[in-house]
Symmetry: none
Subunit: 477 residues, 2 copies
């Protein structure tokens, strides 16, 4: 009974101080921690410092830890461990309390195209949205808003009880949006400190605004940049148009060949390691009653563009995809310039499922492009990401407890879902630290993450904080 009343007091504390929680999130959102652009290096450092200071302020043993790129923030809840008689590095004490590692990332995507933002991306605003108030800013949802749900839940527990119900460590990354180049080495060097019983990862979405979700399948990713070069310099299209090889045309042709008319990817062997989902999983997904038309109409579309014989949920969760994420070549300013450029570049990414191997897909893609180069063309490639798809256990005791906590908060069971995007850290935790992850998040598809006018509903933020307060409580049971 004592613990139940603790939780209720903690939830009351969350309600009473929600405005302060939003104010703290807004402070973090004002920091322009764009990890992919070197010009914002000091802003990334500032975000790490800010988080470390916050965590220290509520009683964590927190520090900013340098890497080759942007720093990590690592924090441990020292008192909980001591109260239970264990050292921080030990998972659990006499009561065998689990020790969790919370993961989030403080870096954000670039805000461009800037002209499409209705309010400045790094000046957070509290605006009216279809689901009540929403916090509008780059990172409001992905992932500053989400990671703050956990920190604020810890803050409430500590304020009310002086401690946390389980042992908690925190790892906040600053390079998630640019492929986590420093993560591998950091996990390898700090395995003892970071390998805990289970990871809590808050970078995913709810099923819908009323239904919580735990994500158990994540697509992997390969991200390639391809540059085709032809002539030794830009050419005048009047003097050379006809005989001169045009790299934009060569690149367009190769990109156009990546898919057939039915949305299949035409790279040889691409589907070799793509499993068919078991009937029971397909059945469970069907029971979710997914509104494919609503999903598409929310983004101004009406007809699914993926493999024609697959449902939209399959297209996102259990089927691989290929997209051109960017392309540039020649003259792109106002007006006309009659140039045949010397080169053209595209960014091409693949979402992977099942056992698709990132290295193999990368090589097959490169071969596919090379096979389509006519005379006088050279091609070069850069890799920005390569991680396999992930399927998490659906029968762990931690998952069960988290499901119960979410059901308490939302009054309905959490959906077990797939996710189209990759969260590479989950694979790293599994492979490098032998640790499963619980992917619980409160974002919504409509949050416009990576797009102009990104937002996080106050409702999501509030439910998120309350849910984590409940999850911590359940994990101690």
């Amino acid at each position: 009974m004592a613990e139940v009343s603790h939780l209720e007091a903690v939830l009351g504390q969350v309600e009473d101080h929600l405005e302060l929680s939003i104010a703290r999130l807004s402070e973090l959102l004002r920091i322009e921690s764009i990890s992919t652009d070197p010009a914002y290096r000091s802003e990334c450092r500032r975000a790490a410092d800010w988080l470390s200071t916050e965590l220290t302020g509520i009683g964590f043993d927190a520090s900013v830890r340098p890497t080759e790129g942007h720093p990590m923030v690592v924090a441990h809840w020292a008192k909980a461990a001591n109260e239970n008689g264990g050292a921080v590095a030990d998972a659990g004490g006499p009561r065998n309390l689990p020790h969790v590692l919370f993961y989030g990332h403080y870096d954000v995507q670039p805000p461009d195209p800037l002209e499409l933002w209705k309010t400045p991306p790094f000046e957070p605003q509290l605006l009216d949205g279809p689901q009540g108030k929403m916090i509008v800013a780059r990172g409001a949802s992905d992932d500053k808003g989400q990671l703050m749900t956990f920190i604020e839940a810890c803050r409430a527990w500590i304020a009310v009880t002086g401690g946390l119900p389980v042992n908690v460590s925190v790892l906040l990354e600053g390079e998630e949006e640019c492929g986590s180049p420093s993560l591998d080495a950091f996990l390898a060097e700090n395995t003892e400190e970071l390998a805990r019983d289970v990871a809590l990862v808050c970078d995913t979405s709810m099923w819908d605004p009323e239904t919580p979700a735990i994500t158990t399948m994540l697509r992997g990713m390969v991200y390639e940049e391809v540059t085709v070069k032809a002539a030794s310099r830009d050419l005048h299209s009047g003097h050379y148009g006809g005989p001169a090889r045009n790299p934009i045309r060569v690149l367009s042709r190769a990109l156009a060949a990546l898919h057939d008319e039915t949305g299949h990817v035409m790279i040889p062997g691409f589907y070799d390691d793509v499993p068919e989902m078991p009937d029971e999983v397909k059945q469970q997904w069907k029971s979710l009653g997914f509104d494919a038309i609503g999903f598409l109409s929310a983004i101004g579309l009406s007809v699914p563009a993926g493999e024609t014989e697959r449902s939209v949920l399959e297209q996102i969760w259990s089927r691989p995809s290929c997209d051109v994420n960017g392309i540039i070549g020649g003259y792109t300013g106002e007006g006309a310039k009659t140039v045949i450029p010397a080169e053209a570049t595209a960014k091409v990414s693949f979402r992977l499922v099942g056992d698709q191997n990132p290295e193999k897909i990368t090589e097959s893609f490169r071969a596919f492009i090379r096979d389509r180069l006519p005379a006088d063309c050279e091609v070069s490639f850069k890799s920005f990401a390569g991680n396999a798809a992930i399927a998490l256990s659906t029968d762990s005791p931690y998952l069960e407890r988290a499901q119960a906590a979410l059901a308490d908060e939302f009054g309905r069971p959490a959906a077990l879902i797939g996710a189209g995007g990759s969260i590479p850290v989950v694979g790293d935790f599994k492979r490098k630290l032998g640790m499963e992850s619980l992917l619980i998040g409160f974002a919504l598809d409509e949050d416009q993450i990576h797009s102009p006018n990104e937002k996080y509903n106050v409702k999501s933020f509030r439910h998120g904080i309350r849910s984590w307060a409940r999850v911590l409580d359940r994990l101690a049971a």
Copy 2:
């Protein structure tokens, strides 16, 4: 005999004062008359003033004439007309001397990329080149060096004989490099003053460093910008990759469909108004001994990319072409961004020949793109240019006389050639003033016009002045 000795004295005068001619050209090259950039407006005005002063100095009735944009310089040789008993506006007098209009342009392309210039673009240098000394500066060839060949030829004639062998008017434009926005209105308002027997246009190239050329065919142009839009906003490729329509893919696919494997343009009806060259013309071109391999290797290429069954000369001179001059969409910065963009844009241009109608080609292109739009896509277009190809008479008496003059100067016949690029003023002269043009120029393909380190060989400059001296003489015969 008197006239022959006049010409010989004039040619001697040219030789004796070549250094002074180069010094005057250098003065003009120091003026930064970049027409496309409003920051250089006063420099354009300064170039017009300089030219008007020079022409007045040698006896022309010259003036700077305002337009909505940069001014025109118009000059008339008053004395020749008077000597022959006619008014300036009358073509010819008792001896029925022809009245020519010389056209050139004093504006230049922007010099960027500046870092690729070995010497400052507006500080002309006399450097050693493969064909002897060369004048290096922006505009040295296009078109200040070329227009000065005519002015210096006039200067020599006047210095030696006190007059010119034919009636001469001069029109120097300041907006050729930015699409000649004021030309139409200026020609319409000054038709009486500018409509002469024939135009002499000095903005083209020689066949090779030893062989003069008269250009009789110019390709026309259609220049379109096409934007494809799909979703109402940029999307995260993890969440939407598969079902979301990707406008870069749609655009790439449509652009890729513009050509088949043999380099043919696939737009229905595209070749309807493309004439086959008469065998005699093909034979003459063949006799030129064009070095296709050398032409391509100079720009780092080795295999012609145009219609496979056509020679390189045909591909440039008598066959239409289609090129993508620019493309942009999605994320094009450093690193990776997993976006499916809301739109993508390309600039596509066509070089036209024969009777291809710019409006018809524009409409066919737009229909071709529209036919390739899948569900949920919108397309919009902008037109930046549309002018038909030009074929000049090859049997005019002026052409014959100019050929004879060039043969006298170079010791070999002038090649009658095509040019891949358009010189819109030639079409305007024809349509608006009912006047044919003689396109005679002394530039070389290697002159790097529009590129860093533009140059004009002193040999080209000298031959150019001497050639115009001879052409003026022949036209009076």
